[in-house]
Symmetry: C2
Subunit: 494 residues, 2 copies
């Protein structure tokens, strides 16, 4: 057995541990009774320690060095690059720093759940400060190894190859035109419909509707399932993808759109390449590419008029309280734009403003240009500038609304808007390549769309860097103009 083969066996072993983590983690969010959480947390932590020990043992570095001297084909070379990246990401930090950050993060997150409710910024600030401090230490160590800025080093954990220089341009331009576009759209759109008021949509009907929509979207139920959790997510493993939603009996669209979103993540996972089992090259390319797939299904496809025409009869068929919902009402509700405080409730037009704001603050925070205590003022100022809303004193609906910073996931936020941009670019290419796309969508003939995604994105796994993947699929690297065009056409067009 050569060094490369030895490495692939080691990574297959790690993938099997990841499998068990994924299922036990899913169970924790969906099935586990409350009293099971302490022991479950300990078991998952133990597995994570074992995973880390196997990954960073000195022989891994030795095998990588040896494998780099071996004759490999281009797939193997790409896999070795991914193996090296995963190894370096894990091995770079001293164990004490990893543990200290995990502890501070878990403490901050736990306390945040209550502090947010109580609008307790002072309390939150005390817990967030050490998380930021440890994240800065992590960023500096990673930056030194990678030869980049501290913030870029964290960004690369989620989006390999992305830089803040590039984000400054992408997001800087976007935030020039977005506030005005938003005003134009809000001024133009009809008053929001009230058709759903005082209606009851039973959970069993909503679930049946969700599953029929998943079927329409070709979700493979022999390799996955739909359940309920407090915070919707896509988990599990490629052979067994677990998506979740949360139902509300007063209103069905947010659960339904959430299911379409998670189905986008799920189809990516279910269609990742199978010829490299357990290898990093077979994993999803990046966080932004993953988000591009969920937003492709939810925003580009799912909220389009063509798709809503196909969805409309399914809704009327499954929900007894929605039989009189008109297609027009449905489109109005699904495409309603309304700037608000909360990112997760935002429409696709306001959403990027929430992201640019967070990106600008977290970049400065990690690079040491601002401090935790500066956050509320920065937040309020940017909210006013980008969305015309003030969050002064309203921490709970301002800088305390998200979970991401509580455990130090700095560098994650930009991937949401990068995902939206990639999704628009991919959908635009598809429109060029498939004539009569809207008609096919209206008829529910989605197979050509999925075949295209499978060929160009899903089946590629991590075979190519992001830029190369997107270039091959669309003929150019990330170009934000398609996102802008998408918003203008959907919300100001016809």
């Amino acid at each position: 057995m050569n060094a490369y083969q030895a490495l692939t066996e080691r990574f297959q072993r790690l993938a099997r541990l990841d499998h068990l983590s994924a299922i036990a983690g899913w169970d924790m969010q969906t099935m586990m009774p409350s009293g099971g959480s302490d022991a479950r947390g300990e078991a998952l932590a133990e597995l994570s320690v074992m995973h880390h020990e196997i990954l960073v043992q000195s022989s891994t570095a030795e095998l990588i060095a040896l494998a780099q001297q071996e004759t490999l084909n281009s797939d193997q070379q790409a896999n070795l690059n991914e193996i090296s990246r995963h190894y370096a990401d894990a091995a770079l930090l001293p164990t004490e720093l990893v543990e200290a950050k995990a502890l501070a993060g878990s403490r901050c997150e736990q306390a945040w759940r209550q502090q947010r409710i109580e609008n307790d910024w002072q309390g939150f600030q005390r817990n967030l400060t050490p998380v930021v401090e440890l994240s800065r230490q992590e960023a500096q160590l990673r930056a030194k190894a990678l030869g980049c800025s501290p913030y870029d080093a964290l960004l690369n954990l989620y989006e390999p190859g992305m830089t803040s220089q590039r984000l400054d341009t992408l997001f800087g331009e976007l935030i020039q035109w977005l506030p005005e576009l938003l005003q134009q759209i809000v001024a133009k759109q009809p008053a929001s419909s009230t058709v759903q008021t005082h209606r009851v949509f039973p959970l069993s009907q909503q679930k049946a509707l969700a599953e029929s929509v998943m079927q329409l979207l070709d979700f493979d139920f022999t390799h996955g399932r739909l359940d309920v959790s407090a915070h919707p997510f896509c988990g599990g493993v490629p052979t067994d993808v677990r998506i979740t939603t949360r139902y509300n009996t007063d209103e069905f669209l947010s659960a339904l759109m959430g299911v379409i979103h998670e189905t986008g993540h799920a189809r990516y996972e279910q269609n990742l390449p199978k010829q490299w089992p357990g290898q990093p090259i077979a994993l999803a390319r990046s966080t932004a590419i993953h988000e591009s797939q969920s937003l492709f299904l939810e925003m580009q496809l799912g909220r389009s008029k063509a798709f809503l025409q196909r969805l409309h009869p399914l809704i009327c068929q499954h929900l007894t309280a929605a039989t009189d919902l008109s297609l027009n009402d449905l489109v109005q509700q699904v495409q309603h734009v309304s700037p608000g405080f909360i990112r997760v409730d935002a429409d696709e037009v306001s959403y990027p403003a929430h992201i640019v704001l967070r990106y600008e603050i977290e970049r400065s925070l990690i690079n040491g240009e601002v401090e935790v205590s500066d956050i509320p003022e920065l937040w309020d100022e940017k909210m006013q500038r980008y969305l015309g809303l003030s969050t002064a004193g309203n921490y709970r609906n301002g800088c305390m609304q998200d979970i991401h910073w509580t455990d130090g996931s700095f560098g994650y936020f930009p991937t949401y808007t990068l995902g939206a941009m990639y999704a628009a670019q991919l959908f635009n290419t598809l429109q060029q390549q498939l004539p009569n796309l809207d008609e096919a969508i209206t008829l529910g003939n989605l197979a050509p769309i999925f075949a295209w995604l499978k060929e160009n994105i899903w089946s590629k796994g991590s075979r190519f860097p992001v830029d190369s993947l997107i270039q091959q699929a669309t003929g150019e690297t990330l170009n934000p103009k398609w996102f802008k065009q998408h918003l203008e056409r959907r919300y100001l067009g016809d």
Copy 2:
């Protein structure tokens, strides 16, 4: 840190891996879509290999030897004994034998599922023969180390301290009186009731009934749940016990009695000692003691007239198709005795005959006195002698009905009837110690019963050997007369 502490840390780590195995295993039986099974099987096998590697590493033996020289209190000494036993059980076999047996067992079990349907004894025999051969090799290696017969060595994996000499006496006496008692009971009982014919019991109503009965039996829903699986079991971990049942819309009693049975297992798990987290001393004592708890709840308590009086209104309340079921009908159905081919469908009077038959055959098989090809004839002969039924040519309902032998779990069967005997002995003691027990049961005042079980069995974990545990609880070691008395009183008495 001394050697004993190092050992306890190692076993806590192993317990955390067991936690993940238990949850992923439960998920496989209850939640996993069909396409997930290969990758899940590989992940679980990987975890099991890691578990084995950690357990049998040479330093474990060294630490045990060092700990035996350390000053330990009696709890620690008992734990060290259990640690040594677990280590020896695992370390005794060469890896190649473990792997060969796992492979042959998995092959035989897989094929058996179809071969049983097709009544294909020849095909099954071909697969079972290597399983028996490898089990004999295992038994001989273990026997040599323990200084006992090959069969006893396997028996000890499930029931530490039990011998076939003792079983020969217990089961030999039992099978003297059982066939006649069975005839007497069948002759005496009224014709079976047909009250359930052509009724429909919706699953949702049965589930609500099952959960209300679990509540009556003090199942802790903050540390466990009830789900559905093809084969009912009790899984999970003590902090999160997962029991399952299977519902049939034509008939509700088998699911309900199954739930009561699994609740017995579950309450034992939920009430194991908490002061030794992750240590072998905190585990359930043995397979037979575990079964004694399920049979205590199902047979001693659950099928008693007193309990059925309490159960009756709950059934009428939850099942709309059972509102006219009389208490008398209920008792008749629950206590109906009818010798049949299938062990898992057997009433508590016929059940031991199925076990004695299997015990006699597997003991001779492992000790090399009979061969696989002899099984069908032996089976038929014993079925005729013990239950008056012939299984000649009927392999599917004869020697091919059980899963146990397919993967080489020889030594397991006796624990079912040992469990029934322990249950009768425990219940008899309780009757002596708690005056007006029947009245309390009828009123649903079960707290004193559970307090007694908790004090005498559950909270002891593996602190004492089986004989000592039973002696402390009942004043004597296993005495089969209480089981005989129980059957006579319930089925021939008043």
